[in-house]
Symmetry: C2
Subunit: 193 residues, 2 copies
DNA sequence: CCTTATCTTGAATGTACATTCAAGATAAGG
DNA sequence: CCTTATCTTGAATGTACATTCAAGATAAGG
C-alpha cells in the first residue's frame, strides 16, 4: 500500500558507474548509498545485499550496451562502415577520462575470477552473448558479400572481442589518441583484409 | 647484530602469487602472513605496509618476466620463430588454471586505476618498458630482414601488446585451447603478413 | 478521514581488516 | 661467555565495512 519511490534504472546506473570506477570490492555500501541517494535499508530491501546490487547493475549495463549496439548496427545497412563507427566510439570512450572507458564486464571478471563463481558465470555468459552479437554482424557481412567467407563469422568475432578487450586495457597505459586510432585501424584491417 | 632470516625473493614470489590470485584489495595481510610464513611485524619491518609489499612484489614480477623474456628472445637468433614460441608459452599459461594465467601488471592497473596514482604510475612504467622490449625485438626483426619496414617497430609492438592484453582477458571467458591458438595465429599473421 | 501494509530512515551491530607495539629471541662483536 | 642491536612474535588496537532492525513515514483501499 505504499509503492517504492526510487527510479530503479537511475539507481542501477549510478551503482554501475561506481562499480566501473572503483571495482566490486572497493565500492562500499556507503558509497552506494551516496551515489544512489538511497539509505542502506532501502538498498537491502530492493536488492538483498551488495552482491545483489552488483548483479542487477551488470544486468543494467548489459541492457544499455545492447541498446547502443543494436542502434548502431541496424539492419538494412552495410556492416563494415558501422564497425568502423563502433571502433571510433570505443576509442572516444577510452580517451575521455570517464568511468565508461572501462568495460564493466571485463574489469569485473578480471577482479572476481576465482573468488566468486556465481558472478564469474554471469559475466562469462554476458561476454559470450556479446561475442555472439558480434558474430551475427559478421554473418551478415559475409552473406552480403562485404567479407569473403575465408574465415568464419565466429572466428572473426572472437578476434574482434579479443582486440577490443586488449584495446581498452592498452588505453590504460597509453592515452594517445593517434596510437589508439592506429590500433583500431590495425584491428579493422586484420579483420577485413 | 641479528640478520633478517627470510628469503626475500621467496617471500615476494609468494606475495606475488597471492596478489595475482586475489588482487590487491582482496589479498589480506592475514593471507600474506600465511603464504609468506612471516608474522605481521616482520612484513611491516621489511616492507613498511601492504602497499610496500605490493610494490616490491610488482618489482619481483617484472624481474622474473624480464628474465623469461630475454632468455627466450636471445640475440643471434631470428626473431619470428621466438615470437611464435612466446605466443605458445602465453597460451599455455592462459589454459593452465594457475595464477600465472593473469598478468599481474594489467590485472592490477585495471584494479587500481583511478584509486592509487603511485601504484598506477609504477604499473604504467612497467607496461611501457614491456612494450619497449617488444619494440626492440621488432627492430631487430626489421634490421635482419625478417619483416618489411612498412610498419615501424613501435607500431608493431603496440599492436602485439594490445593483442596479448586482449588474449589474456579473452582466455577468462573461453578456455578452449583451439580457439586461443587460433587467436595467437591471427595475431601473428596480423603482425607478420 | 482512518487503517494498515509497505517503504524509508539511520543508528546500532558484529566482523574483517591493516597496523602497532612491547616482550621475547637471536646472532655478531668483544 | 656476555653484551646489545636487531629481528621475531602474536596479541592488542582502531577503523572501515556490510548488514540489521526498530521506529517513523506514507500511500492505497475502504
Amino acid at each position: 500500500m505504499r509503492v517504492a519511490e526510487f527510479d530503479r534504472e537511475y539507481v542501477l546506473r549510478q551503482a554501475m558507474h561506481a562499480f566501473m570506477q572503483c571495482g566490486y570490492v572497493k565500492t562500499s555500501m556507503q558509497k552506494l548509498t551516496q551515489v544512489t541517494a538511497l539509505h542502506p535499508g532501502s538498498l537491502y530491501a530492493a536488492f538483498g545485499n551488495k552482491k545483489g546490487i552488483f548483479l542487477a547493475a551488470i544486468e543494467q549495463y548489459q541492457t544499455d550496451r545492447n541498446q547502443q549496439f543494436t542502434a548502431l548496427f541496424c539492419e538494412h545497412k552495410p556492416v563494415l562502415p558501422n564497425l568502423r563507427l563502433y571502433l571510433d566510439a570505443i576509442i572516444k570512450e577510452c580517451i575521455c577520462g570517464e568511468a565508461m572507458k572501462v568495460c564493466l564486464l571485463t574489469k569485473s571478471i578480471s577482479e572476481v575470477e576465482g573468488q566468486d563463481l556465481q558472478i564469474s558465470q554471469v559475466l562469462m555468459a554476458n561476454l559470450n552473448a556479446y561475442e555472439n552479437a558480434l558474430a551475427k554482424q559478421f554473418d551478415r557481412a559475409i552473406a552480403q558479400g562485404e567479407l569473403p567467407d575465408t574465415r568464419s563469422a565466429e572466428h572473426l568475432a572472437r578476434f574482434l572481442a579479443m582486440g577490443l578487450y586488449g584495446l581498452r586495457t592498452y588505453a590504460l597505459t597509453n592515452r594517445c589518441e593517434n596510437d589508439l586510432s592506429q590500433l583500431a585501424d590495425d584491428l579493422y584491417n586484420a579483420l577485413c583484409n
